[in-house]
C-alpha cells in the first residue's frame, strides 16, 4: 500500500511546467528551421515528387505521395504548426497538425528513414497530450487556456524519458565486437575526415578510432544518468555540446546535433527553467500557483505505461532473430541504431519473361534516384520491394509473369563484398514479413584480429 502510494506520488506530484514549456519552444523552433531547410534544399521535389516509385513502410503500403501542390501545402502547414508549437498558440491543434503532417511525409518513402525522423514523430505524438502550453505560451497569456504553474511530474518526465531512451539505446547498440574490438566503422570513417582542424591529423591513427568508439559507447549509454543527476548535470551538458559538435562536423547528419543539444536542456531543473524564462521572456509567465492534474488519469496512466513498455521492449526484438543483425537487418530499424555500420551494396536486377525466357538487365537509375538505389542495394526488404515493383511494371508492359532475380553484392564494415543471396532466387515470389530472412546467405566473418592496427602509432 505504501509502495503504491509512493509510486503514485513519484508519478503525479506537482512539478513546474517550465521545463516542458522550454522544450516546447525549442522543439517548435527546431522543427520550423528543419522544415524550412528541407524546403530550401529542394528536397520536397527530390524526395517526394521526382522519384518514379517510392519504397513503402511495412503496413503502410497504401501511403502514396500527394500531388506536388499538396505536398508543398503540407510543408507550409508544418511550418505554421511548428511555429504554433513554439509560441504555444492553439497548441493542441498545432501539435496534432505537426504530428500528422510530419509523420505522413516520413511514411511516403522508407529509403529516407532516419532514426531522428522517427524520434521527431514520437516526440510530436507525445507532445499532443502534454500540457506544454499551460504557461509561458500565447494560449496562457491570451486566456485560451487557464494558466497553471504546476503539472504532473510524468508530463515532464516522459520527454526526458524519450531523450534518455535515444541515448541509452544508441549506446547499448554500440556494445558489439565490431564497434568495440575492431573500431568499425569509425576506423573507416575517421581517416576520411583527416582534414578537420585540430583533431584531423589524429584521425589517421587507428588508435583514435578505438578511443572514439569506446568514448562514443560510454557517452551514449551513460549520459542520460549524468544528465539526470543534479550535480553532474552541468559537466554532462558540456560533454553533450562537445560530442554533438564533433559528430555534427564529421558526419552529414543535418539538424540532428543541434536539435539534441537544445532538447537536452529539458533535463535541467524547474528553477533553472523558470529563471530562464524570467530572464529572457519575463512577460511570458502568467503568475499563478495553480496545479492541474492530468485529465482521465487512469486512461492516461495505462496508455503511457504501455507506450513506455513498448519503447523499452521494441529495440530488443532483434534477439528473436537468428544471424547477424547488421547483415540481415531483422529488427534493425526503430531501435536507435545510429551511425553504427558502414554498409553498401551493388544490386543488378534481371527480369525474365517466364514464357519466352528472354532476360533483360535493369538499369536501376531508370527507376530510382541515387539515394534510393544506394539504400535499396543493401537492405533486404527494399530489394524485395523493388523486385516486386519490377515484376508488376514489366507485367504491365506485356512480359509474361516476369521472373525477377538479382545479383546483389554487399560489403559490411569493410569486408570484401559478397553475394547477399542466391542470384537464382525468383524474388517476385518472395514476400517480406516479420519472419527471419532465411533466404539471405549468412554474413561473412570479419577477417581480422581484434584491435587491428591499434599500436600503429610510431
Amino acid at each position: 500500500m505504501q509502495l503504491k502510494k509512493s509510486l503514485w506520488h513519484a508519478i503525479s506530484r506537482p512539478v513546474s511546467v517550465a521545463p516542458l514549456a522550454t522544450f516546447r519552444f525549442i522543439f517548435g523552433v527546431a522543427m520550423f528551421i528543419s522544415t524550412l531547410r528541407f524546403l530550401w534544399m529542394g528536397w520536397v521535389y527530390d524526395h517526394y515528387i521526382a522519384p518514379k516509385l517510392h519504397f513503402h513502410y511495412f503496413g503502410f503500403e497504401w501511403i502514396e505521395p500527394a500531388p506536388a501542390w499538396a505536398l508543398y501545402a503540407i510543408h507550409g502547414l508544418m511550418l505554421l504548426a511548428a511555429l504554433g508549437m513554439a509560441l504555444g498558440y492553439r497548441y493542441r491543434l498545432s501539435a496534432v497538425l505537426f504530428f500528422l503532417c510530419f509523420t505522413y511525409t516520413e511514411l511516403i518513402d522508407i529509403t529516407y528513414y532516419l532514426n531522428h525522423y522517427y524520434f521527431v514523430s514520437l516526440v510530436s505524438f507525445v507532445m499532443i497530450f502534454l500540457p506544454a502550453h499551460y504557461n509561458y505560451s500565447l494560449d496562457a497569456r491570451l486566456g485560451k487556456v487557464q494558466a497553471v504553474r504546476y503539472v504532473e511530474r510524468w508530463q515532464v518526465g516522459i520527454v526526458r524519458f524519450l531523450l534518455a531512451m535515444v541515448y541509452f539505446y544508441a549506446g547499448v547498440a554500440k556494445i558489439n565486437d565490431e564497434w568495440l574490438l575492431h573500431a568499425l566503422p569509425l576506423r573507416i570513417w575517421l581517416p576520411a575526415h583527416n582534414d578537420m582542424p585540430l583533431l584531423g591529423p589524429a584521425f589517421n591513427y587507428p588508435l583514435t578510432a578505438y578511443v572514439f568508439s569506446w568514448a562514443g559507447m560510454l557517452y551514449d549509454t551513460l549520459i542520460p544518468f549524468f544528465l539526470l543527476n543534479r550535480r553532474t548535470r552541468p559537466f554532462a551538458y558540456i560533454v553533450v555540446l562537445f560530442f554533438h559538435g564533433v559528430t555534427g562536423y564529421l558526419f552529414q547528419i543535418g539538424m540532428f546535433p543541434l536539435i539534441m543539444s537544445a532538447s537536452v536542456l529539458v533535463f535541467f531543473s524547474s528553477e533553472w527553467h523558470e529563471r530562464l524564462w524570467q530572464r529572457y521572456l519575463p512577460g511570458w509567465q502568467v503568475a499563478t500557483q495553480a496545479f492541474r492534474p492530468a485529465s482521465f488519469p487512469r486512461l492516461q496512466y495505462a496508455f503511457w505505461a504501455l507506450f513506455v513498455c513498448f519503447q523499452v521492449l521494441f529495440p530488443w526484438r532483434y534477439l528473436l532473430y537468428p544471424g547477424n543483425l547488421f547483415w540481415n537487418e531483422d529488427g534493425f530499424r526503430f531501435s536507435w541504431r545510429v551511425m553504427l555500420i558502414e554498409k553498401a551494396g551493388t544490386a543488378t536486377f534481371f527480369v525474365r519473361d517466364r514464357q519466352s525466357g528472354h532476360e533483360w538487365v535493369i538499369d536501376n537509375r531508370e527507376f530510382l534516384n541515387t539515394h534510393q538505389e544506394k539504400q535499396m542495394a543493401m537492405q533486404p526488404d527494399l530489394i524485395l520491394q523493388f523486385a516486386h515493383y519490377l515484376h508488376d511494371y514489366y507485367e504491365k508492359q506485356g512480359v509474361a509473369d516476369p521472373i525477377v532475380r538479382a545479383e546483389v553484392y554487399v560489403t559490411l564494415n569493410g569486408r570484401p563484398s559478397s553475394l547477399y543471396f542466391s542470384p537464382d532466387l525468383d524474388l517476385s515470389r518472395l514476400e517480406d514479413s516479420w519472419a527471419p530472412r532465411r533466404w539471405l546467405y549468412p554474413a561473412p566473418p570479419l577477417q581480422e584480429p581484434p584491435f587491428q592496427g591499434i599500436l600503429n602509432i610510431f
Binding site: 532514426n115 576520411a192 582534414d195 552529414q252 551493388t346 512480359v399
Partner: protein, 372 residues
Amino acid sequence: MKKFPQQISLAIIVLAYLLGLTACNSKKENSPQNFDRRGLLENVANNLISPAFDSLHSEAKALQAATQNFVNAPSLGTLEALQTQWIQTYTTWQSANMYNFEFLIEPNTLDKSLFEEIGAFPVDSALIEQYISQGDYSFANFNRDTRGFLAMDYLLFRTDGNQQAIVDAFTNDNKRGLYLKAVADHLLAKIEQSRNRWLEAKASFIANDGTDAGSSLTLLFNQFNLGYERIKNFKLGIPLGKRAPLTSPAPMYVEAYYSGISLDMIRANMKAIENIWRGVGADGQDGLGFQDYLLAVPGGKELSDNTEAQLSIIYQKLDALDKQTRLSTLINTQYQAVEALHNEMLKHTRYFKSDMSSLLGLYITYDSGDGD
C-alpha cells in the same frame, strides 16, 4: 571545486594525445593512412581532365576545318581526310566523355551534359534526313540524337564502304553539306563551352578536397562510375538486347554503327576509365588515382587486387573479340563472346561502385547519413 583538477588533467591528456600524434605525423612521411587527397585531385585535374579537354578541343577544331574542306569540295580525297579526322577526334572524345560534371553545364540554359549534347547514340537517321530535306540546321529542338559525333558517323560512313556514294550524296544535295557543317560547328561550340567552364572551375575543383557529398572526390567518383556503366549498359547492353523492350539483339544500336569502330572506341573508353582508376595522366605518367587511395586504407589492398584481377578478365574478353570484324557483326555471329564481355563488366561493377566508396568513406549522396 573538487572536480576541477580532474577536468584539467583530462584536458591535458587529450591535448597531449593530439599533439603527440600530430607531431608524429609531421615527422614521418609514411604515417598510417595519410592519403594526399588534394594530390589525387591535382593529378586528375592537371594530368587527366585538362589534357583531355585540350586535345578534344584542338581535334574538334581540326574536325571543323576538315568538314569545311569536304563541304567546299566533296571528293573521295576530302572525304577520306575528313573520315580520318573524325575517327581521331572521336577517339579523343573517349578520354573526355566521362567528365560530365554538373558545374560544366552552362547555367540558366536547357543544356544537358556534354555527353548528352554531343555523344548521344543511336542517332535517329530518319529525323536527320528530314531536317536535311527541310533545310533545318537550327538544332532548336531537344532531339539530341540528330546531332553530335554520331550524326557525323551516319553522314560520313556507309556500312557497305561505298565511298563514292557518300560523296555523291553530298554533291547532289548541298543541304546535306550545310547540315554536316552545322553539326561540326555545334560540336566545337559545345566542347569549347565545357572546356572554358572547366578551366574556370579547375582551381575550386582541386581545393574542394573533402569526402562529403558534393566534394570533388565524390563528384569524380560518380562520373567515373557513370562512365564505366555507360560502356556496359549503352555500348554493350542495349545492342545485346539486354534492355527492355528489346526482345532480340539490336546490333544497329552499337556506338558508331556506320564507321564500325565501336570496339576500338570501347577499348579507348575503357582505357580512359582505367587511367582514372590508376591515376595515369595523358602523358603516361602514373600519378595518384583511386587505386592509390585504396592502397592507403585498411582492406584496400584486397579490393585493389580483386579489381585488378577482374579488369584483366574484362580485357581478356575484349581481346577475344576479332578486331577485324565490326561489333554489330560480332553480335550476330559471336553473340556469346560479346555477352561474356558484358557479363564480366557487370561482375566488375561492385568493385568500382559500392566496395570502393564504402572503404574510402565517401558520401555519395546528400542526406544519406543518420546520427546521434
